[in-house]
Amino acid sequence: MPETPDYPAAREPGCPFAPAAAVRTMTRDNPVGRVRIWDGSTPWFITRHADQRALLNDPRLSIDEKRAGYPHMTRARAASAPHHPALITNTDPPEHTRLRRTVNGPFMVKRVEALRPRIQEVLDSLIDDMLALPSKKADLVQAIGLPVPTLVITEILGAPYADHELFQTTSHVLISHDSTPEEAAAAGRAIGGYLSDLLDRKIAEPGDDVVSEMAGWVTAGQMTRPEAITMANAILIAGHETSASMISLGTLALLQNPEQLALLRDNSDDPKFVANAAEELLRYLTIVHSGIRRIANEDIELHDTVIRAGDGVIFDLAAANWDDAQFPEPDRLDLRRPARQHHAFGFGAHQCLGQSLARVELQIAYGTLYRRIPTLALAVPFEEVPFAMEGVAYGLKSLPVTW
């Protein structure tokens, strides 16, 4: 019997960008293996790119987190799952399709493309502030990484930026593996209460933003209040630390690969090059490192193994993005490689709702930062950069830089 590693598994010291060795071994040797998760259960573990592509579109798998045997990501999620209303994150087609089309408007390609000038303006002003520091030293996470997506997502939701501290602390508690169910519930209540008030304000006085749009659906009876609040909360959390992590980690990865950084800097005015560079950084970093979860509706045969109806299944996205059958020499950051078919946003009907917005944010960040700060460098040795590995997505606690 092959061994059953604990999951999520720790990465090798010194290789913070690479998926854990146990995960990479399974991609090579054991494509339909099992891992042991926090509650002691041993769901199936799918790591190959081609298998994920096929199964994440297979109606024999369900995302219904209320079913017994669903392999929950954390203890807190298991405790809260039975209380969630119907959401895009816990329903299957056709209900999922209806919900997703309802909330999709603000994330359409042309709507997020229209945000480009505003995001560019936000970033340029943050860079101005940073470059004005006499010490010529800053923490890039606090100076750029976090404020860019926070500003963008609060503007999209129509929430005042002044409330960003509440967003940042509650979203951190809600996605951390270290939070107790009580802490998560308290954070959920705090943000839920805040968003409920915001919804009331938007029902009374609508603006040009997502919560106002949802307020309209609530008034029209097309969406319930709890659905609107939970959805706004999900948008806030999902749009927050993920983009922040990608900006900071992407910068660190580029600083570790100076020839790639130079290539990007020299091609900053080529939107196609920058767009592909963002895809390759998404592939290489794959920050959602806790696996996405499903439960089998019926028996599924794969590589001579049968996944039984009722079994939990976990898909490790980073493993697929480091599967050398799809991406040769996956450990090489190569901004010119065709990387578009990565699974950093997942795959299938539940692929990230905000991916187009994330792409615009990242393209602007990667296309601007190194052009405007060509001498950007680490202010501490690489080994001393503190990683935050405990969340659903990994990131950096800080990124001390100089220029």
Binding site: R100, R101, N104, M108, V109, R340, A349
Partner: protein, 65 residues
């Protein structure tokens, strides 16, 4: 080559409109894909193939003619 689009499967991710804007657009109200040109010319066939490959819902099929 002919593009076949399975609308009920579409989750409106807009990836087709992003990689092949000459062939696909998104409906204004909900983002569901619209096929602008179901018979891509020889210089558009790579874009069509990429659109089919990146569609997360496997709603785009290419049929040889």
């Amino acid at each position: 080559m002919r593009i076949e689009f399975d609308e009920p499967r579409c989750v409106a991710a807009g990836q087709c409109a992003m990689v092949a804007p000459e062939l696909f657009d998104q409906r204004d109200d909900d983002g569901v894909a619209i096929v602008l040109n179901a018979s891509p010319g020889p210089d558009q066939q790579d874009d069509a193939r990429e659109a089919a490959a990146v569609c997360p819902a496997a709603a785009i099929r290419l049929v040889a003619e």
